[in-house]
Symmetry: C2
Subunit: 219 residues, 2 copies
Amino acid sequence: MISLTATQELRVYGQGMQTRSPAGRAGRPRSAAADAAILAATREALVELGWSKLTLGDVATRAGVAKTTLYRRWAGKNELVVDAVAELFDELELPDRGSLAADIEGVVLQFAAILALPEAKSGLMAVVAEATRDEALRERIRASVVDRQKRLVLEGRARAQARGELPPEPDPRSAARTVDLIFDMVAGAVVHRTLVSAEPADEEWVRGFTRVLLQGLGT
Amino acid sequence: MISLTATQELRVYGQGMQTRSPAGRAGRPRSAAADAAILAATREALVELGWSKLTLGDVATRAGVAKTTLYRRWAGKNELVVDAVAELFDELELPDRGSLAADIEGVVLQFAAILALPEAKSGLMAVVAEATRDEALRERIRASVVDRQKRLVLEGRARAQARGELPPEPDPRSAARTVDLIFDMVAGAVVHRTLVSAEPADEEWVRGFTRVLLQGLGT
DNA sequence: GGCTTTCGCTACGAGTCGTAGCGTAATGCC
DNA sequence: GGCATTACGCTACGACTCGTAGCGAAAGCC
């Protein structure tokens, strides 16, 4: 519990390296290098061992730190893996490709490329499964992974409305529902294709998906 | 490995109780009651403990059998949970509701109801995560869970084509791709809504989803 | 230099794993 | 009924992981 708070503070330091004395904190600061090494080691262990056989002792050894250091920063395996996997989604962007269809295809391909990584496959679904019984963990995933993706949907939608490709939706409540729906449809389809069907979400598949999403099955 | 084959044979016996001497097998037969008790106990443990804290020893105690009996029938936790969760999808059907939209809404609501069960939530995603590193497990999930769902898509599509709601697709390869795409979109969206967004896939959501799936975002 | 916090290390009890061995129970075949 | 065969319950086991405690040393801020 305490270590969880401390972790969040540390990550804040990591972002703003310049801050002199972070909120009146004295003593030896936590090693940012150790933090990075631990997360990298976690991803490495996910690739080699998978979720169930991953042990915190092994991660500590790989990272070159003591096991106790790991427990001081993360409450457990779940939280550690969430942070390790979350970094994979940092590069997710939505470049303007001129049309809604092209924008969707571009971002879906990015998303699919990340999900194709073995560390994302084995880690992400496992923590989502654990999160069904852990409210705090669900919130952690939402904040560090899901919301960043959803923001892209919001952005792409606004862009398409500006282009006139999508009708404006004045009622904010209805608009929020639509965004949630689109998000679940896009992310859900890619995840299901990649993890359950175990087939690559390649360009051909993405083209077909985008066509159905925009025009429906009727045509 | 041996026990896995034996398990499948046992399940066959369970279906056709009448068979006299099943393929020249001698000796004391496996208890079908024990099998049912174990799977029920597994679901119960999934609800109370979740995937990660579920132990085979605990399941054995709940089911009233010895731990060794469990290991004789299943290779491990993964295979056991797949079988336990698979039974939840037995009742999935596709009643004819007159139109493609109504058919989709009906089956999606059924699927959502199953996914809302805590034993499905915590169990299904966990084994899918494990299956990313285990080809045999992936095949087991495909055979006992996924294919049964996909058959509904195939059936609903044929029905809609007979009604004239969907255009016929002569090329079988292209048709198979379309079915796969639709399946990933439907199942993926419901799963993502239920497990990641952690919101109920209720009637209102299903209506919106069906509208987008059939007519696209454009309208 | 003094204060504070982190770090590496060792050690620990508790719990789980998957297996082996044994005697017993239940069936099919003769 | 007797025999072979297989499943069952039970006990015990070494190996491993867990999460924590305690200690001295290290690294920063005043």
